[in-house]
């Protein structure tokens, strides 16, 4: 199909779905249509317009248009003075001028001054309406901020812009769908474990959270379910805060297998004298400076317990503490919640 016909067909498609979703479309189609509907309302003129525009000055001679129209394959040129649009000169104006043999007259004598424009921050749906209402091939685009000419928009630009955006969105969705389960399916081995190791610096309150943040982003890139990621992130963050607040630093290791995420947090002191007591919500030995910073309310370990499927804590005073938690990936409950999300 020639390009012009493609554009015409795509244009009619946009016009019809802009207004309403037809009866009898399948669910899959309906989803795509809704996406276009969303996009024509969401996207703005300046996201699709051409910024690299050819212009002429009102004092240029009509003869200058000969090369422009021929070489650039365009059918109209905006006339601009000091970045302001003052009119348009079209191929029709040029032909008329040629027939009258007045090619040495200035553009300002032959151009049209009454020009319909669009603003750069108007939604595409408005551009679609204007194209349809007035039947023009293009609109100059004016900046709402300073009133200068900033671009030019054609139906082709709108279609290309929508297709490109849909492709990007679709691609992002595809990545999102590439869940951890698939990741593991692609690995050929009898047993697979991914290990991520992090070092946590003690007493550096400003950097606290870097490990949990890094682990969280990693799990997200692997396509893990959001609910699982949130539980792991909160538990790891609380454990990381404990390392920062109470110890001189330690190590956090995450082991990911097809069935669970296991987090191991190890430090070399000072140790917890009474683990049972430390686990009680509200029990805290945190110094005042930590409380002032919004932590140390005695909820950390009980929060970790709440987020984990398995929690194991062992500690020797003067030696160190080892915390191990696991979040299961294949529990019925997790799978159900994954489908919800």
């Amino acid at each position: 199909m020639p390009v012009a016909d493609c554009i015409r067909t795509a244009w009619w498609a946009i016009l019809s779905i802009k207004d309403e979703v037809g009866v009898g479309v399948s669910v899959g189609e309906k989803k795509d249509i809704t996406k276009v509907q969303e996009l024509v309302y969401e996207m703005k003129v300046d996201q699709v317009m051409a910024r690299d525009i050819i212009t002429v000055s009102p004092d240029d001679l009509m003869s200058k248009l000969r090369e422009l129209l021929r070489d650039k394959h365009i059918s109209g040129v905006p006339v601009v003075r000091d970045k302001r649009l003052i009119g348009m000169v079209s191929i029709e104006d040029f032909i008329k001028c040629l027939a009258e043999g007045k090619m040495d007259s200035p553009v300002k004598d032959r151009m049209s001054y009454d020009v319909e424009t669009l603003y750069d921050n108007e939604p595409l749906v408005r551009a679609v309406e204007e194209f349809n209402r007035l039947g023009y091939g293009r609109f100059p685009v004016i900046s709402r901020g300073d009133g200068n000419l900033v671009g030019i928009i054609t139906k082709g630009d709108i279609i290309r812009g929508l297709l490109k955006k849909m492709e990007i969105d679709y691609h992002e969705e595809e990545i999102h769908r590439y869940r951890a389960s698939h990741f593991f399916e692609d690995i050929i081995a009898d047993k697979t474990t991914l290990i991520f190791q992090y070092k946590v610096v003690g007493k550096d309150f400003n950097r606290a959270g870097e490990t949990s943040s890094g682990l969280k982003k990693t799990l997200r890139r692997m396509g893990m379910s959001p609910k699982i990621i949130r539980r792991v992130a909160i538990a790891t963050y609380e454990a990381e805060m404990n390392l920062v607040v109470f110890t001189d630093g330690g190590e956090i290791t995450a082991q990911v297998t097809p069935s669970e995420i296991k987090i191991e947090v190890v430090d070399e002191g000072p140790g917890i004298p009474d683990i049972k007591k430390a686990m009680e919500p509200g029990f805290s030995t945190a110094p005042d400076w930590i409380r002032e910073l919004g932590f140390g309310a005695g909820m950390g370990l009980s929060n970790i317990h709440k987020c984990a499927d398995v929690m194991h804590l062992e500690s020797t005073v003067g030696k160190g503490t080892r915390l191990e938690i696991a979040v299961h990936l294949n529990d019925k409950e997790n799978r159900a919640s994954e489908e919800d999300s």
Partner: protein, 118 residues
């Protein structure tokens, strides 16, 4: 309630996420204890807090809040604003104290966690 409405009701200054103010928050939480926040806040909630340090952002990141609003005119440091930006967290400030800010939002229909169904 949209964040635009929140900004209007609390007369907020928008520090990050200006372009995302059309998004909606369904539940609010006013709290200065980050462990409390981590233990019960719902994803997508609006967190109002007087805690003006990077851990407020980290807490928001881990618990996936919809937005954070600092109360009583606290101005966050550049590091905190950068951290919010990096993690796509919308950060607002208001001059109202915590109780007043929560009260005004509640009055305008934003529920807390005890009433939130969803």
């Amino acid at each position: 309630m949209t964040l635009k409405e929140v900004v209007k009701i609390l007369d907020c200054q928008v520090l990050t996420g200006e372009e995302e103010l059309d998004s909606e928050v369904k539940v609010g939480c006013g709290c200065d204890l980050m462990s409390d926040v981590l233990s019960f806040i719902k994803p997508g909630a609006l967190l109002l807090t007087g805690l003006n340090n990077p851990q407020a952002i980290r807490t928001g990141e881990m618990s996936e809040v919809g937005a954070i609003c600092l109360v009583r005119d606290k101005q966050p440091g550049d590091d905190m604003v950068a951290l919010a930006k990096e993690n796509g967290i919308i950060l607002l400030t208001t001059s109202l104290p915590l109780f007043d800010a929560c009260g005004r939002l509640y009055q305008n229909g934003l529920v807390g966690h005890s009433e939130y169904k969803g």
